[in-house]
């Protein structure tokens, strides 16, 4: 064995081995590419060509979850208006039959009716356009100014809605039932607006109810933070006041699911309203 062999043989071997590695790596890469392209083989695939039909039961979700519709009582005024309207139409007919020359007037009358209808539609649109005042605690002047009377109407509406309890009951609280609880406490929560770091003031309150939906006991979860953060203390106390507010007793909770809601955790989070 010469010195040359001693030195160069291992190097040659290394080169050869490297070539092997290269080939191996190329092979593996190719395999991965093929796998990506064709996908992994599934050996447990169900091979029968007649797949059993999936049973799908179509249920009207609103029957299960949505709160029942509120029957708005028709005010006698609207009925009166209707009758007046009918009378007007009668008059028109009379006009048409008795005095056929006054067709122009009739056209004008119908125009007026159309205008009234238009106005009504516009009013409806305006009502629809009105933003939820509760969502805009931080006022921007471009937004609609709060009108006290309008607000009163809104609160009256929500109250009437909240009194309605969902009829169909499942095992857990339905979305609409949770929504009703949410709305119930929202109307009692005076948000600590304008506070510093309002985005970080979520307060959890553990509440114990009796069967009538009255609060037996409520406590703030994060008491230690109350001692060191005065903004949080204000927020937490405002949330506690909302729960203990006598106007927010008789929460709309289904009696049959008492076990589900006798202990609730309410998380009062002003972030979406005053956070930024």
């Amino acid at each position: 064995m010469t010195i040359n062999n001693l030195i160069f043989l291992p190097i040659k071997r290394e080169v050869l081995e490297k070539k092997n590695y290269l080939l191996q790596s190329l092979g593996f890469h190719l395999l991965i590419i093929i796998l990506i392209y064709y996908g992994l083989p599934n050996f447990f695939r169900y091979r029968s060509e007649f797949l059993p039909p999936l049973p799908v039961e179509i249920i009207n979700i609103s029957n299960k979850t949505a709160a029942p519709k509120i029957n708005f009582k028709k005010s006698p005024d609207t009925e009166k208006n209707k009758t007046n309207y009918a009378n007007q139409e009668n008059i028109k007919y009379n006009k048409q039959t008795v005095v056929p020359d006054d067709s122009r007037e009739i056209i004008q009358d119908t125009k007026e009716v159309k205008e009234i209808k238009k106005k009504k539609i516009v009013k409806l649109k305006e009502l629809k356009k009105k933003p939820n005042q509760l969502q805009s605690v931080l006022k921007s002047i471009e937004q609609v100014k709060r009108d006290f009377s309008d607000k009163k109407k809104n609160t009256e509406k929500t109250e009437s809605e909240d009194k309605v309890t969902p009829t169909k009951l499942g095992i857990n609280l339905s979305i609409s039932e949770i929504d009703a609880i949410r709305r119930h406490f929202e109307k009692c929560w005076n948000i600590p607006s304008g506070a510093r770091e309002a985005g970080n003031l979520a307060t959890e309150i553990k509440v114990r109810f009796n069967k009538k939906g009255n609060v037996l006991d409520a406590r703030i979860v994060n008491v230690s933070r109350m001692k060191r953060d005065r903004y949080f203390r204000t927020a937490a106390e405002s949330a506690l006041r909302a729960v203990l507010n006598p106007r927010c007793q008789n929460a709309p909770l289904p009696e049959k699911k008492f076990d589900k809601w006798k202990n609730l955790t309410l998380n009062f989070d002003p972030k979406s309203i005053i956070g930024y």
Partner: protein
């Protein structure tokens, strides 16, 4: 060997037992997991609170008690955050602040908090005022304090009581024991007399500081509470002056070659920052009141004006037209790292950094209307909170919660509208007028008196 097997089998069983317990408990916990509901909406209205008449044992004490109750009610009502329930609606008559109130009586009238206090006058003439703040719904005491002072200080004590209640209920620092400096205006538009005036934030102790012979503008308080800096046209040259409120001593700030305007103190009161105008160019300068050294901070050829320090004194917000139109810029206190922060439509001016540090208030002119607005120091979350024919010159209350500003009414039948000072909450609600004897503009809120 036997022991070993026993040990292992035991371990095996213990493992199994622990495992089964874990599964069992996790199941139980899962079953009994309390339902959590997010409440993400509510309302903002003044919190209704009840203030029982402060109680005295004789006529003298009762008269002081009455004055104090009246002032506390006025302060809290004026804050816009509270609504004091009409005392006629109160059901319970409380004999002493040391007696537990009958909470159900206060719950009926929707009082969310209750203040009960007493007044005692010592033989030495000192007044001792004790009061307690109750949470009506939670049925517990929120706070209780006792103040002793000379009878003549009853106003200050009343403001302090209102401050304490405000602090406890909002988490903010109270600002009722503060003053407002402003420009009192009188006379026809072409012969307008403008005088520097000062009063308590509730309008009491009003007095004029200048005689009206020279035009005065933009008063600003120093953090020491006793000094004002403002612009005056003495000798028809507009210059920045310094005034000692108590002695009435007035002096020019620095010896600048041109006209100086838009002054404001640094948060530590050692410097005044202002604009210096020379040959159509105005730049921002700081002037050290102790060393009398002036320092140029900006050197742009256009107009740089209305500088205002951040509460820590490290940054300065100012107004500049370097971008083509008046916009708001922020720089460090050495005049470097200039960054534009206002990008909305319209012209921006008079930026003022909030004492809380979280907002910058400004005046905006867009589409022939003036607005007062706020934005964060990085220019985000711009919100306009007041508008009018002319609204300008915002100033913060010392707690950074409310903004006072000048508001001029729309002209009626070619007669100019009246100029008044208004106060609005940071949220954009609770706007109200600050009553002044004459027409008023350019308000400046004093710092807190420590």
């Amino acid at each position: 060997m036997v022991i070993n097997i026993f040990f292992f089998t035991k371990l095996k069983y213990t493992k199994k037992i622990i495992f089964s317990f874990l599964i069992f408990f996790s199941y139980i916990l899962n079953v009994n997991a309390e339902l959590k509901i997010d409440i993400t909406s509510g309302y903002t209205e003044p919190t209704p609170i009840g203030i029982h008449d402060f109680i005295g044992t004789n006529d003298e004490e009762n008269s002081v008690a009455k004055q104090i109750t009246k002032l506390v009610i006025a302060d809290l009502n004026n804050s816009g955050i509270f609504r004091i329930i009409d005392p006629k609606a109160y059901i319970q008559k409380i004999p002493s602040p040391n007696v537990m109130p009958k909470f159900s009586d206060w719950r009926v009238i929707n009082a969310q908090a209750l203040i009960v206090g007493s007044t005692q006058i010592n033989t030495s003439g000192q007044v001792r005022i004790e009061f307690r703040l109750w949470d009506v719904f939670a049925e517990q005491q929120m706070a209780g304090w006792a103040f002793s002072t000379a009878r003549s200080n009853w106003r200050q004590i009343s403001h302090r009581i209102a401050d304490k209640v405000y602090e406890r209920l909002t988490g903010e620092i109270g600002y009722f024991d503060t003053r407002i400096a402003y420009i009192a205006e009188s006379g026809p538009p072409k012969k307008r007399v403008k005088r520097l005036a000062i009063m308590d934030q509730d309008g009491a102790n009003h007095r004029f500081l200048t005689d009206g012979n020279n035009l005065v503008l933009t008063p600003r308080f120093s953090p020491s509470y006793q000094e004002l800096t403002y612009l005056s046209y003495i000798g028809r040259i507009p210059r920045v002056y310094l005034l000692d409120i108590e002695t009435g001593k007035q002096e020019v700030v620095g010896d600048f070659p041109g006209m100086t305007f838009a002054p404001r103190f640094s948060p530590f009161g050692d410097q005044v920052i202002m604009s210096l105008a020379m040959e159509g160019n105005s730049d921002i300068y700081s002037y050290n009141l102790q060393t009398n050294i002036r320092k140029q901070l900006t050197s742009y050829r256009g107009i740089d004006t209305s500088p205002s320090y951040s509460p820590n004194g490290k940054r300065i917000v100012f107004n500049s037209d370097r971008g083509g139109s008046p916009q708001i810029y922020v720089m460090n206190n050495k005049g470097k790292k200039i960054k534009r922060i206002s990008f909305g439509k319209g012209h921006y001016s008079t930026p003022v950094w909030s004492p809380r540090g979280d907002y910058i208030a400004f005046t905006k002119y867009f589409n022939k209307t003036f607005y007062i607005g706020v934005m964060t120091p990085d220019g985000k979350g711009e919100r306009v909170i007041a508008k009018g024919f002319l609204v300008e010159g915002p100033t913060w209350t010392p707690n950074g919660r409310m903004i006072a500003y000048t508001k001029k009414g729309y002209p009626i039948k070619k007669k100019e509208g009246k100029t008044r000072i208004f106060l609005i909450d940071l949220t954009g609600f609770h706007e109200r007028e600050i009553i002044t004897p004459l027409e008023a503009s350019d308000p400046a809120w004093s710092p807190l008196l420590n």
